[in-house]
Amino acid sequence: MLSLRDASLAYGPRVLWSGLDLEIRPGEFVAVLGANGAGKSSLLKVVLGQVPLRAGTVRFLGQPVRGGDRRIGYVPQQTLADDAVPLRGRDLVALGLDGHRWGVPLRLRRRSEAVDALVASVHAEATERSPVGRLSGGEQQRLRVAQALAGDPRLLLFDEPLLSLDLAHQRIISDLVDESRRAHDLAVLFVTHDVNPVLAAVDRVLYFANGRVRVGTPDEVLRSDVLSALYGSPVDVIRSHGRVIVAGAPDSSHHPEGQDA
């Protein structure tokens, strides 16, 4: 449903990545991995039609991508922590439903029923009446998944949705994404600096390093020889108790605590 052919992306003279070939099928969960600044989030912007490719093509459901396609749901990392926001949990979800329409909301009952269904689909009944500014990061992300599911999208994009969440909530949100894509047969493109919370759900990974990309199942890509070749320097992939740890990646200086894949 989403296909990139020989795609490359550059900002000015700086090429972020090139030679990306990717074909995502309905219901497939693809994690996007790599160092900071490798162009993971930029890939999402390309799919959202906000940043053009330097070369190659990107098509969604058979057509070139365009901005504001409502068949694509989007969950950013940014949290909405503000007392000045006149929204409760369920109102955030409602914006996903009809926030792009002009005017003020009408046909309130129908709207309210649709919001109820979305809130229930992510099990967020407990927080739907709380002011958004007072929700925790995990509670907000749960509602954001519901917001992204509004309007029956075919593809969900996530940009570091687990950042700043504790381990328990990383687990909860990951499971929720997995549950939603199975329930609705959605393709998922999931940008994350740490693959472990979603490792069990992931079908394939996309690994950006050194301006190049490797695509494959986690077992095919998350290997010492593969990542060493990609980085052009020795990298160790350690698997321990179901977790994957990438050690010695050249950019690990940005992450003093060690680089999780």
Binding site: P76, D91, L95, H100, V104, P105
Partner: protein
């Protein structure tokens, strides 16, 4: 001549004087209507001023609106066209140069004293009545004539209609810009439209409460409403109610007195805010 200290009856008589009230009201009912319309539009747009984190920008735009009004007075173009031109220019400048809150604050801080200075210069050069001069800073609705009130009321109605048309996407783009853009909301276009509407509303407010006190109509009511509710329906309704009570109440109280209208409006609006804070606080205590 011996100057006697003013006794308290006299002081109260200056602040509150309801003799000949009926006649005054008949004479000034247009001001009351204009005040009510300003309350509606100020309360509505205040919700977005808060959601977009723009109170300081509002203050900056109102100082440039003051500069425009003073220039209009000096050049004989008229106060209302001058203040509209000044505030639209400032609103567009701040909107274009300051897309992020941080940039916006510094640009506002740079523009604001420049505008005030320019306004003071124009007023210093102006040879006419001095009551007009002071009025631009501290409010003067009772002084302005009927055709002007007609213009102000028309602007209020137009901006209110405009706000209702863009309400939902503007709210989306204000509180959740990344997702809004991904979902096809034309955020940049809406931002320009919003700044134009804000500029117009500020120009009207400057006429009524004065440049220094615009925040009491465009921020205080919405801030008060947000203390007691987070509902996207209730917050704008409360904000409009608070702003309208402030303007109409202020005008009605001020009718008989010799004092400008603005202290009445700002005091009512501030008291409402205080009450809302107390309500929010006691609610929180109950919940615990």
């Amino acid at each position: 001549m011996l100057v006697l200290p003013m006794d308290s009856d006299d002081l109260w008589g200056q602040i509150f004087d309801f003799s000949n009230y009926g006649e005054l009201l008949a004479l000034l009912h247009n001001s009351v209507i204009a005040g009510a319309l300003l309350g509606i539009v100020g309360g509505l747009i205040g919700v977005f001023v808060m959601a977009r984190d723009m109170p300081f920008a509002v203050h900056g735009i109102s100082e440039l609106s003051f500069a425009g009004a003073s220039a209009g007075l000096l050049l004989g173009i008229g106060v209302v066209p001058g203040s509209i031109a000044g505030s639209l220019l400032a609103a567009l400048l701040i909107g274009a140069l300051g897309s992020r809150a941080r940039e916006r604050n510094s640009i506002t801080a740079v523009l604001m004293p420049f505008g005030l200075g320019l306004g003071i210069l124009c007023l210093a050069l102006y040879q006419g009545r001095s009551a007009n001069k002071f009025g631009l800073l501290t409010g003067q609705i009772v002084a302005i004539d009927n055709p002007q009130i007609g213009t102000l009321a028309t602007i209020c109605v137009l901006v209110t209609i405009g706000l209702l048309v863009v309400w939902r996407p503007l709210l989306f783009a204000s509180v959740d810009p990344q997702v809004a853009v991904a979902r096809g909301v034309p955020a940049r276009f809406l931002s320009v439209v919003f700044m134009l509407m804000l500029g117009l509303t500020i120009a009207v407010s400057v006429q009524i409460v004065g440049a220094l006190l615009v925040l009491s109509l465009l921020v205080t009511p919405a801030a008060a409403a947000l203390r007691v509710s987070s509902s996207p329906l209730l917050v704008p309704l409360l904000s409009v109610a608070f702003a309208t009570v402030s303007t109409v109440g202020g005008i009605l109280l001020a009718l008989g007195s010799s004092i400008p209208i603005s202290p009445y409006i700002t005091t009512i609006s501030f008291l409402i805010y205080l009450v809302c804070r107390l309500v929010a606080r006691s609610r929180r205590r109950v919940r615990r």
